[in-house]
Symmetry: C2
Subunit: 753 residues, 2 copies
Amino acid sequence: MNTPELSFFLPYFYLAWSDDILTKKEFETLSTFVSSRSWLTKNEKEFLLTKIDLASPPSRSELSEWKTIIGKELYASEDIRTVFDLIVGLSKKDEKIASYKSQFEELENDLGILSEEVINSFKEHPKTITSEYGTVTEFDVAQLTLILDGDQAPIINKVKEVISRPEFAYETSTDIFIYREKVLEWCKILADENLGNMAYPKKYGGGENIADYFAIMETLSYHDLSLVIKFGVQFGLWGMSIQSLGTEKHYAKYLKDVGTLALPGCFAMTETHHGSNVKGIETTATYNHADKTFTIHTPHENAQKEYIGNAANHGKMATVFAKLIIDGHDYGVNAFIVPLRDEKMNVLEGITIKDCGLKMGLNGVDNGIIRFHNVVIPKENMLDRFAQINEEGAFESTIPSDNKRFFTMLGTLVGGRIGIPRSALAAAKSGLTIAIKYGDKRRQFGPEGGSEVPILNYRIHQRRLLPHLAKAYALHFGLQYLTQRFIDKTEAEMQEIEALAAGMKAYTTWTTRDTLQECREACGGKGYMSENRIDALKNDTEIYTTFEGDNTVLMQLVAKNRLSEFRKEFGEMNALGVINYVYDQAKTVISQKNPFATRNTDEAHLLDKDFHLNAFQYREKQILNSAARRLKKLIDGGLDSYDAFNVVQHQMIEVAQAYLERVVLEQFYIQIEGVEDANCKAALTELCQLYALSQIEKNKGWYLEDGYMEGVKTKAIRKMVNQLCWEVRPNAVDLVNAFVIPESCLAAPIVVE
Amino acid sequence: MNTPELSFFLPYFYLAWSDDILTKKEFETLSTFVSSRSWLTKNEKEFLLTKIDLASPPSRSELSEWKTIIGKELYASEDIRTVFDLIVGLSKKDEKIASYKSQFEELENDLGILSEEVINSFKEHPKTITSEYGTVTEFDVAQLTLILDGDQAPIINKVKEVISRPEFAYETSTDIFIYREKVLEWCKILADENLGNMAYPKKYGGGENIADYFAIMETLSYHDLSLVIKFGVQFGLWGMSIQSLGTEKHYAKYLKDVGTLALPGCFAMTETHHGSNVKGIETTATYNHADKTFTIHTPHENAQKEYIGNAANHGKMATVFAKLIIDGHDYGVNAFIVPLRDEKMNVLEGITIKDCGLKMGLNGVDNGIIRFHNVVIPKENMLDRFAQINEEGAFESTIPSDNKRFFTMLGTLVGGRIGIPRSALAAAKSGLTIAIKYGDKRRQFGPEGGSEVPILNYRIHQRRLLPHLAKAYALHFGLQYLTQRFIDKTEAEMQEIEALAAGMKAYTTWTTRDTLQECREACGGKGYMSENRIDALKNDTEIYTTFEGDNTVLMQLVAKNRLSEFRKEFGEMNALGVINYVYDQAKTVISQKNPFATRNTDEAHLLDKDFHLNAFQYREKQILNSAARRLKKLIDGGLDSYDAFNVVQHQMIEVAQAYLERVVLEQFYIQIEGVEDANCKAALTELCQLYALSQIEKNKGWYLEDGYMEGVKTKAIRKMVNQLCWEVRPNAVDLVNAFVIPESCLAAPIVVE
């Protein structure tokens, strides 16, 4: 091909033979084109056609020679952007060439090739922006760990030491009975290390340190989650029910043995027909004044205590919730300690216990179904902190309403709604650690001629994982805030804190569900192998969205609490006043809704803390206003309030979500404020920005509907989220390393081998 | 309380003692209020204060008397809307009353009670709209089943009959080896019923009916999914690889035994380091012309064949994909039949097989890892439909490019991308059947004084499940369309159909993932018990989003295909032409973007088929345009095309999604068009509207950003989605009954006992 005319065709011929851009049909297009060029001689045509004869392909060495010629030309001139530019070069800038331009452009269209793309595919580009990217150290990981652990660092490190011991090697048997025994053994070791009784009074051998107790629950969650739940059932639910609902006599009698695991027990509240609506449970505790006993009874199959942890195999006693009946009067739900098994672990008379059998996860926990047939217990077994039966056999309580008393009792158990989300978040951190480290190592695809690229360099992979990483950090600080509020609580704050805990439980466990789902998919087939542990993390935490309160029900509860807070704010206003208030509120944000603000796409503005906080606060307030107005309108319109609340259920979830997201963002920013190490601060700030903007992006439909932002701004936010993902990516491995999850706990061969 | 003044307080006192609206602190508010009323006498005050003394609560009979008084008053006058109205009534319309109104309103504010709500809580309202709702028969279920099953009804019924037999009782052992043997046994029964070889040529004992084959895969998916995958590996992947890549000699030698399961085999393509980028596999098949053999070799650990179904226990042979090497030249990936085990099931020399061990799901399938150490096979074992080695030992192929040849080979295997989404959808249908029937039965909470309400009557529960039901129906018709396109395919359509199959595989399996997640949560704790089968459905289908092509990678592929289709449409245009075209396109839709259309909230418009189709088509076109322009801009700006495609990955997913959703909606409407039964047609139309509007709602951020809709319209759509959910609810049980999933397959005690 040493004449200019022939060199015109080189790029097309190379394309035809070497790669998958041209199809067989397009070979024919090419032949037709060659045959019909008036400016080619017969000989030239014949020669050219031999080069695109499917029956005699060029040899590999010839192909490689063509490639060299093209490559040299491209190397010689950086200006070549189209195939035609290339032809000009190859033809040594032949003069006739300009007149052929349109012919070749037509050919390219017929072949369906995009000129610029083809030129790119010719270039040797083993080095691209995508392939040159990777992990870079930008901050001191140990510093960040200190920030995360805070005052609980000593207990966290102790727990990590314990669960890294050889006896904590994971159980691999699929036999659930073997697994359950292993989990019980682990619990005993933890009890021996004085970790189980951490929250109990010192007087009864405890550590009297609820902050440490939560840190233990959280850190254990880097290990097996059946262990965490068994631990929580024994020392949390069972032990704390005695501590919170009982009195001195019960503490003295039971707490020490509970803390050492000498007395394994259960928390028997949920019944087959009453889970979320636990106020409706039907088990009865009938008081018999003659012999000062209670008779505990299950009236029918659907009133059996169900899903009860520690019941199927190990529990010796249970805190049983039942309706107290005195002289035929129902005094509402109260709690009673009921022995289940004797010292030899035989189930006691009148009691039937069935095994819940195989579950989706948490198979190391022995959940069971308990039925009572007129089981008699002594009077002192009533947990009588909030209600008592006096010497005359009459009911007494400082809380007049049965309902209110029951919810007060439940309120004392709110700690579970702190332990569970903290455990869930730890599981999400494990998943993120596995998926991010794998994404940093695993290579797949790459630029033509270059080596394959770590999949975490792909934008879509970053998009799938890094906003979840940012959210995990955000929730970390949000849950620390919740814990602190709980520890410092006053009576007046209780309702707010209970709602916050309920909300954070729901918000965190749903986040964990979504995070682990992405982690599983991000690890592909490897993520499906049980040895890589996403299986267990995902399936064990699956029920976190249901137990300790179904998330959807909890979110309704949070929203109702927000509505009543809102109502308080309104104070003395009547309906018209409320509406005026709402409009006034709207006026105060009008400044944020001027065209400049709603269309502002400055990078500095988009990354600005005040913009983020305002957007979250605005959303929270508006959604709450709108739900309140809608409810009022429905009720004013004559709808039964029960029906009205049903109509707005979907909106109520948003009320709760907006509230929780605002709290989490605020706390994240407040925590960052206090960080001294500049590099850690920068890394955390970037994460916080990513959290804020990816939430805004997720809610962009709402912001646009409301008019708080215009399309140009939400589009800019999408780009900024992409950009932040790209910028966080070099830090990603260090950000998960800062969790310092013990390697033996992480265990996944895809990252620790 | 027989004086008017005293009766004023009755409602508050009743509230204070009987329910949980007032707190202890508010008791004090009430006392203070009473004490400071100038219009009460000292005696009256004292009397009143005895009624709100926490130390001496009223007796239950007194409370009940108060309630009767209030109830009578409310019964007597329907006009009572506020507590003050009630007071007026109770006071027998006392004259002084008007002057006290503001005092009582202030009290209510201090107590934080909402007057209308309190009145509602006093009313006896066991019957509310929410509680009176339920399942109603609106169409003939059997008719709908006929519509769904179509021509495949006979084979579907046959498969249902087979899998309902006692020998198909689910395996409950957690021992994976026992489970695998059971699955193999089931496969043998299916083979004996001539279900496995349904797609093979009649000449080799087959049914030559690919449509029936897909219906079998789908219907089997109502049973154990390990069975489906084992079945698919044996008869689909292993058998079809011979049928699609081999020639007559291979058919004659193997197909019959494959079809009877006398010859269990594997499909060995994926390697540890190459899954998605399967073109990069490193196993070699070196041709030795001297003895006309190939040597199959695994060069290093990461080139092992991984996740290979049927490998760990049962496979006797495998189709192995390897790079063909002749005289040191690499001729790209080809396929070879390689024996793995002898008749006694001993692994052959040179081959090492490891067990993949426990997986998140599909534990009835024996996945393994295969390593070859210079394993010699005869020349005829090359599956030589697309490439051959001639008598001289030279490579021959009608497809010149190695790349193109490989993708042609893969193209023939596209059937897997039809079988998998159809299987996934069947699993989603099982989940929906369980969750919807449970939601119809399970009662929790209810109006004050009324009985508890089926949870499917709750709006949020409907919201969680019914759009998924609508989508399942939409996908049913979408997958029937895909299947038909595949069966009727011509050469020219292959690329489009391959992309459609890849897209439908991704879209359906992600939908199944989301649907089953909601189903699990909707069944609460019961959904977590393995016996109720959502566990297996969820965990077995979890890998569907990864195998047969990672969904994210597939969606990129679909988007690239859409871009090239788009490019074809552009034909001869240059860059300016393209931009003009885009603006022209925009102009044609300007009519839809006039203020009337973007704000139109008429019910008839929102439910209109044309509105739905236009909205979906518009979105598809705009997103594609925008991605193409962005790509072009990036490449024109000097970015390497590899980097440019990375930047737009997130947008590419949307390109694919919008395309698939448009196809699915169109097909749903087309299918409805043909339905004759008016009741079925009405039910399907409602579902289709729900599918259309809930997708638009999900994408409302995009529509608002684009300006195709304004906030007032997206808000109206949200309401309409709620409304449609409410209207579909009475049909929901019948709509899942129409799937006619055998009870023994559904198995879940929460719905079949």
